[in-house]
């Protein structure tokens, strides 16, 4: 079982998201995250999908996706040079004065923006790779009492010259 990434070009029509997610649930494929958004061409949407599977199932998933009439192209991003980022919000509550200082230090070191705060809470915004976001959440949940996490799922695009995932 391994982590995989797919990028899909699909028709920008009603029902397409449901078709794709329904394919995963109907065939018991393990879907971890799915993001979808419009592109430069208003008739086309792109999806970035993260999933976990073995090699054979992954081959099957790609074929099944290709079989959908609404899917224009399936690209396997698992081993190709790409840039991939995920938006993460973390709200830390019930902070002491010391916690607040610590959070501002963490933000500086980890390249995270603090976009809102009051006397006992901080809201962080982090646009990073998924693994960096994971690391940040691990750190915050071990050091602080109450955190609330919202993540967007990764979006990815092919690299021009360097890779970042």
């Amino acid at each position: 079982m391994e982590k995989r990434w797919l990028s899909l070009f699909v028709e920008n029509d009603i029902g397409v998201l449901s078709k794709i997610s329904g394919l995963f649930s109907g065939k018991a494929y393990n879907l971890e995250s799915l993001t979808v958004g419009m592109t430069e061409d208003e008739t086309v949407s792109r999806m970035t999908i993260r999933l976990i599977s073995d090699d054979e199932t992954f081959e099957q998933i790609k074929k099944q996706l290709n079989r959908c009439i609404e899917v224009i192209k399936v690209i396997d991003f698992t081993n190709s040079p790409i840039h991939m980022k995920e938006l993460l919000f973390v709200k830390v509550r019930k902070c002491s004065k010391g916690d607040l200082d610590e959070l501002f230090r963490i933000a500086e070191v980890f390249g995270v923006s603090i976009i809102d705060y009051d006397k006992e809470s901080v809201l962080m915004e982090c646009v990073q790779t998924e693994s960096k976001n994971n690391a940040l959440i691990t750190l915050l949940s071990s050091d602080f009492q109450s955190i609330e996490v919202v993540r967007g799922g990764s979006v990815a695009i092919e690299s021009i010259s360097i890779t970042e995932r």
Partner: protein, 575 residues
């Protein structure tokens, strides 16, 4: 450019697609369409008595003619009733265009009367589904629907038609070309890959062809026969592949799988090369995967790339249409020296022929033998159950004898309506439906359709007073705990009953009387000697259906049988 209503464009589309028969059931959301059809004598509209049966009728029509079957139903309950029919067609790759009425666009989402999200409901059981949300897309969507249904791996396409779109004026243009960027079915064979497969064939000692329904769908029966005769390599088929080569052909060994022949199941187990065409290796075919063709290299030709290496690891995958692939193969293959292997196979065949264990009195086999002896040019359509398996085991097929059956879904209630569809598409052929006392009642109301359309279909109804297929499983694997399989059971019966007693209540319904109530004919046959006369009488009834009810023993079993999960070579041969 003329401005016409959506309904007129729909009729124009049917005409341009060469549709002369549709299966339709009216309702509030399609009254405009039915009104338009009323004015067109060139399109026959058949009125079934239930929308599930309606889809099966279109399915039988499509399978037996090769044309796209067209369904038209109202929204809500009408559309929801189609679901089983659509799934049945999908899992057997049958080209259908299913048109459903929908509430006006402005009402969608309001839980309006008879609003149902049929595109959503059927999303995972049809090849494609779409709602027409703008009159200007109607022509293109209909054109694409027919194209998608019949090309590549065929399948059902659902088009949902909101009421307002169908009455709106718009262009009268029906496109003659399709361009769907996400759908470019390719049928071409990769010759390099094919040559590799043929090389493997030439170096194998114990090769076998495994043929699935894809060869029948592609119409490649003649090419396959040529291939077999050129190579002298024997053939086994799946249920859906049966008939792809004359069943009396000396190189034909029967079906593989759960109720396959001993020779065919052993051949697959012992072969060193399994050359498969047009099958998806369903679990009913392979049984225990790790033991399936355990010594063999596997070549797999299929039009659906997703069918390849899905269930079975394949050594040489080839994505292609069966007919194109086999035709190309004919250029490269030679006669194969397989005398020893053939000897082995024929020995298996001779020592373990397909039979019925007890063939005393009236049995299904004797009825099917009678069909084999007397029918030269017929379509036989089965329902689902023991009677289906016996038919698939014993019925002889060739170029003029076609078999239709629900393979992928195994839908009880399929047989009778599908037979009516087949008859509507093949007026001059004899059409025989083989059904069970359980399945027949799942669409019995279609007797009214058959009477109305004057369809002389012969229904061989095997009445074993039980849901025989399930009963067989209970006999073999559940210590004869006959749970909910007796179709004679009444409230007065003991809670637990292990079978026969002279006090069993009478069977309900009385099928012969019921046939007559519908205006059809009914004959009851209880002994072997009456078979011939019953068929003769049925054949004389040329303006309506005849039910021949054969009273058979509920203890008759379908053998061999491989228990689910067991290897193919572990067959139960007798009981």
């Amino acid at each position: 450019m003329q401005q016409i209503r959506g309904t007129s464009l729909l009729v124009k589309a049917l005409q341009e697609e060469g549709v002369d028969t549709i299966f339709g059931y009216p309702g509030g959301l399609v009254t405009d369409i039915f009104d338009e059809l009323y004015h067109h004598d060139d399109i026959k509209v058949v009125l079934p008595r239930h929308e599930q049966a309606l889809v099966h009728e279109a399915d039988g029509y499509a399978r037996s003619t090769g044309k796209v079957g067209v369904c038209l139903v109202t929204g809500g309950p009408g559309a929801a009733n189609m679901v089983t029919g659509i799934a049945t067609a999908y899992y057997d790759s049958v080209p259908l265009v299913c048109l459903s009425g929908q509430v006006a666009s402005s009402l969608i989402g309001d839980d309006a009367f008879q609003e149902a999200d049929i595109v959503g409901i059927t999303r995972n059981i049809c090849k494609h589904g779409v709602i027409v949300n703008d009159r200007k897309n109607l022509g293109r969507i209909l054109k694409e629907a027919f194209y998608i249904a019949r090309t590549g791996k065929p399948g059902p396409v659902l088009v949902d038609l909101p009421k307002n779109v169908m009455v709106e004026l718009g262009s009268d243009e029906y496109p003659d070309k399709v361009n769907i960027r996400g759908y470019k079915p390719s049928t071409k064979v990769h010759i390099g890959q094919l040559k590799k497969a043929v090389d493997l064939l030439n170096t194998s000692q114990k090769p076998i062809f495994l043929i699935g329904g894809g060869v029948n769908i592609a119409g490649a029966q003649a090419e396959l026969t040529k291939l077999v005769e050129l190579t002298k390599i024997p053939v086994v088929t799946t249920m859906m592949g049966k008939g792809s080569i004359d069943t009396k052909h000396p190189y034909y060994l029967g079906n593989v799988g759960m109720h396959g022949s001993y020779a065919a199941n052993m051949a697959v187990t012992e072969c060193d090369l399994l050359f498969s065409i047009g099958t998806r290796f369903s679990d009913r075919v392979t049984s225990k995967i790790s033991e399936f063709a355990r010594n063999a290299k596997i070549v797999h030709i299929d039009i659906d790339s997703a069918a390849i290496s899905k269930n079975i690891k394949v050594d040489i995958p080839i994505v292609a249409d069966a007919k194109e692939a086999i035709t190309a193969m004919l250029n490269y293959v030679n006669e194969h020296e397989t005398a020893e292997w053939l000897q082995q196979l024929f020995t298996w065949q001779a020592t373990h022929p397909l039979t019925m264990q007890s063939n005393n009195g009236l049995t299904a086999k004797k009825v099917i033998d009678h069909i084999n002896e007397t029918c030269q040019d017929a379509i036989v359509v089965t329902d689902v159950g023991q009677h289906q398996m016996w038919t698939i085991q014993f019925l002889e097929l060739n170029r003029n004898m076609q078999l239709l059956t629900s393979g992928g879904m195994g839908t009880m209630g399929y047989g009778f309506p599908a037979a009516l569809g087949a008859k509507l598409g093949n007026e001059h052929k004899t059409v025989i439906c083989i059904s069970g006392d359980g399945g027949m009642q799942m669409n019995i109301q279609e007797l009214a359709t058959a009477v109305a359309e004057e369809l002389p279909v012969i229904i061989c109804l095997f009445n074993n007073s039980s849901l025989g297929m399930v009963r067989q499983v209970q006999t073999l694997f559940f210590e004869k705990n006959y749970s909910s399989i007796c179709t004679r059971r009444r409230k007065s019966c003991p809670r637990k009953c292990s079978g026969t007693s002279d006090q069993c209540p009478p069977y309900s319904p009385d099928f012969v009387a019921l046939a007559k109530a519908y205006g059809a004919e009914g004959i009851r046959v209880t002994t072997e000697g009456e078979i011939g006369a019953a068929f003769d009488q049925a054949l004389k009834n040329t303006d309506g259906p005849t039910i021949i009810e054969f009273i058979i023993d509920k203890d008759d079993l379908v053998l061999p049988m491989v228990q689910g999960g067991k290897p193919l070579y572990e067959m139960i041969l007798e009981y």
